[in-house]
Symmetry: C2
Subunit: 439 residues, 2 copies
């Protein structure tokens, strides 16, 4: 039997940390549903040929699965999905005949990547994605909608201050083309490294790849532009590059920034350095940073894609954004920045006077549960002091002592103890469920 | 690129079916938390040596994972977990120093088995487990608690009528020993096949394995006993076998049945045929059947285990029960027995008068969302008849038409349309979220 030990990159939370994660997932789900997104889940595996057909170096990161006892040919052709976008595109193609378009879905699932683990990077992690896909064409207002949903999520959970940075691939592509750069995709991939390697190294790489020093500097000047309003337009124009694709990109980005300024002011910035490495993005791209933790990189990103889901005849363009749930929580919990008020859902411990009277305590618990109050019956008929300590250790705020007319309930924080009827008593709303606070 | 196609045994639900699953999972979670169970999740993989050390023929069913690009030695030693009990036992051992005992946890996760798929059997499936583990000894009242929680779950979700069947390993073991049968474990495994192969075949197998015809008949007589109250005791006694282990088993089973009769009458039966194949059970065992669908087999099962989690010095005995979520839903949805009232969470579609007025519709949607009402803004400023059909196709009950003072809201089922203020309007409670009904 193997040693009992953690596996690097496969995180497991403590019960109290898991309560924080559950609350985050609840907020995400509730917000997605308020915005009219419905849930789907896709199988955890896809054919390896599908997984490797998307994204840069994706095949290096894939976990293949096979039956331990050997088995069908099929088994050896599957791998665990590394994101939720590729499976979603496949799901859309597979079910196009029965889905209603535009199709709005959210998907909260685990994904796996076999990369080397490091702080905030995991081999098994939970993503929470929203996407809208349509048939043939996708209206641009969906590109403006994505950041509003994400701003709503992050405003309702104490992740701290955040900025959703937005750019548009057409803007960057048009600018590079207008500059006279031939390898537009290669340039984008180099600029994407800006936060990691700095402007000097990016300029060197651009020159190595064939750009002049002046072109490289113009790329860096573009990447330095950032505004929460439409000021970015004048700043781009001031760089003196003209190109019809650039104009289209500016117009599209302006529409996203204008909508955001109206509905989520201060949360969404045009940030022209945002590139996103993945090849399949064709329009708006998103990258979200936690303010004060910019070194953590993007915690929520996505973009518009036009050809990811296509069966050869019909194309299903889409736009989506993905919250790195495990990444955000791993970092915030790792630094002790989020805390649950208790380690169990129970708001009440129903004490047991004697083992032969356990049924009376169970009846009280049943009454409380009937009113939606999570509770637990004490595991042992110890003396009451010990039962109170059992509750205290878990952060359970109330202990109920059974008595002939219901008994009495004690707030073990204040020590206040009052007679109470289990069929009508309620804890203060703030105590009903564990609360999550930011340190 | 591979063909877009389902993979046998890896089910995917439609958006409307997923709404049914979400409601079932919500009821499960809420009920588990009302009973004071806290959530944990374990990583999806375990060392293969741990997976193969538990359970009958488990190694045949394990999916091993490996990095597609090749990689560390480690990667080839891992497999996807095939249940949640083995990972939970490992989690308890790994975190024994920081967990509070008795530790009450629930766990709702996917598991994987590489077996041949058939109706209601999947290779990827969701399980929902509760377990209580303690240090050294586990109080018997926890064995009586498990069926109460499950009865609560199934009473709150329209699975139809159900019976949680309970037996006790010690009762069966004591009876077989008292009969003079040597291979008690082998006998148990044969009797476990009763529902599948019938009494005659079981009797033949028992005789083949060394029992006399009379002993085999006595085993079948025991297996035929079933009662919702304590009548099973007299029926066992009438078979004339005496043994101290049998007495202990009868007493333990009687305690479970008595508690159930008081708190969940009619839901829990002593059923002495219940064996459970897994070797690690040592006391109470559970198997739940849906009435009228007994041929579907057990949809929720578990039992007490005393040695599953042990580090050699300390043992952590536990008792648990597991709901086969995908199994239950696969069968009920497959037969069209459960239905969601709509295919999206949205209760309201906010119509768009003209594309340039989209911001007004978004503002109405924001107001509705602020009051917890899921809604969607119409994707296109089509004529209103077309927008109403868009809502109708998805089962969205209300369409909001923006106007100077908020506008008007139409119940598209009745046709009733009234002026309304989006900051205060609420739909009837029954329309706020999709409802799940049994056909």
């Amino acid at each position: 039997m193997s040693k009992v030990a953690p596996i690097s990159g496969f995180p497991e939370f403590s019960p109290a940390e898991r309560l924080v994660e559950q609350r985050f997932l609840d907020v995400i789900r509730e917000t997605f549903e308020l915005h009219g997104f419905g849930s789907i889940e896709t199988r955890s595996i896809e054919p390896i040929s599908r997984l490797t057909s998307q994204g840069e170096d994706a095949d290096k990161e894939i976990y293949a699965i096979s039956r331990l006892a050997g088995g069908g040919r099929d088994d050896s052709r599957w791998g665990l999905h590394f994101d939720l976008t590729v499976p979603f595109a496949r799901y859309v193609l597979e079910n196009a005949g029965t889905l209603d378009f535009p199709f709005r879905r959210y998907q909260i699932q685990k994904a796996w990547r076999g990369e080397r683990p490091q702080e905030g990077r995991y081999r098994e992690f939970t993503q929470a994605d929203i996407d809208v896909v349509d048939v043939g064409t996708l209206a641009p207002h969906f590109e403006a909608e994505m950041p509003l949903v994400i701003a709503d999520v992050f405003a309702r959970f104490p992740v701290g201050d955040f900025v959703i940075q937005v750019n548009n691939r057409r803007l960057a592509n048009g600018f590079y083309t207008g500059l006279g750069i031939a390898d537009v995709a290669g340039t984008l991939r180099i600029v994407d490294k800006l936060d990691k390697i700095g402007p000097d190294a990016v300029a060197d790489l651009l020159v190595e790849s064939g750009a002049t020093r002046a072109q490289a500097q113009a790329c860096l000047d573009l990447a330095a532009i950032r505004s929460f309003d439409l000021r970015f337009i004048d700043e781009v124009r001031a760089l003196g590059v003209t190109n019809p694709e650039l104009d289209a990109g500016i117009e599209a980005l302006a529409a996203v920034i204008e909508t955001a300024a109206a509905h989520a002011p201060g949360r969404v910035a045009a940030a022209l350095k945002v590139a996103r490495g993945l090849d399949y993005y064709t329009g708006t791209v998103y990258e979200t940073q936690l303010v004060g933790h910019e070194d953590w990189g993007a915690v929520c990103s996505g973009g518009r894609y036009d050809a990811l889901a296509s069966d050869g005849r019909t194309t299903y363009p889409g736009v989506g954004i993905s919250i790195g749930v495990t990444r955000i929580l791993g970092l915030l919990l790792g630094q002790g920045l989020l805390r649950a008020s208790r380690s169990t859902p129970a708001a009440v411990l129903v004490a047991v006077s004697a083992e032969e009277d356990r049924a009376a305590s169970t009846a009280i618990a049943t009454a409380l549960r009937g009113n939606g109050i999570p509770c637990e019956v004490a595991p042992r008929a110890d003396r009451f002091g010990k039962q109170i300590r059992y509750a205290d250790r878990r952060g359970i705020p109330f202990v109920w002592f059974p008595g002939p007319e219901g008994g009495e309930v004690k707030d073990i924080r204040s020590g206040e103890q009052v007679p109470a009827d289990p069929s009508v008593w309620r804890p203060p709303a703030a105590d009903l469920h564990p609360t999550i606070t930011r340190a």
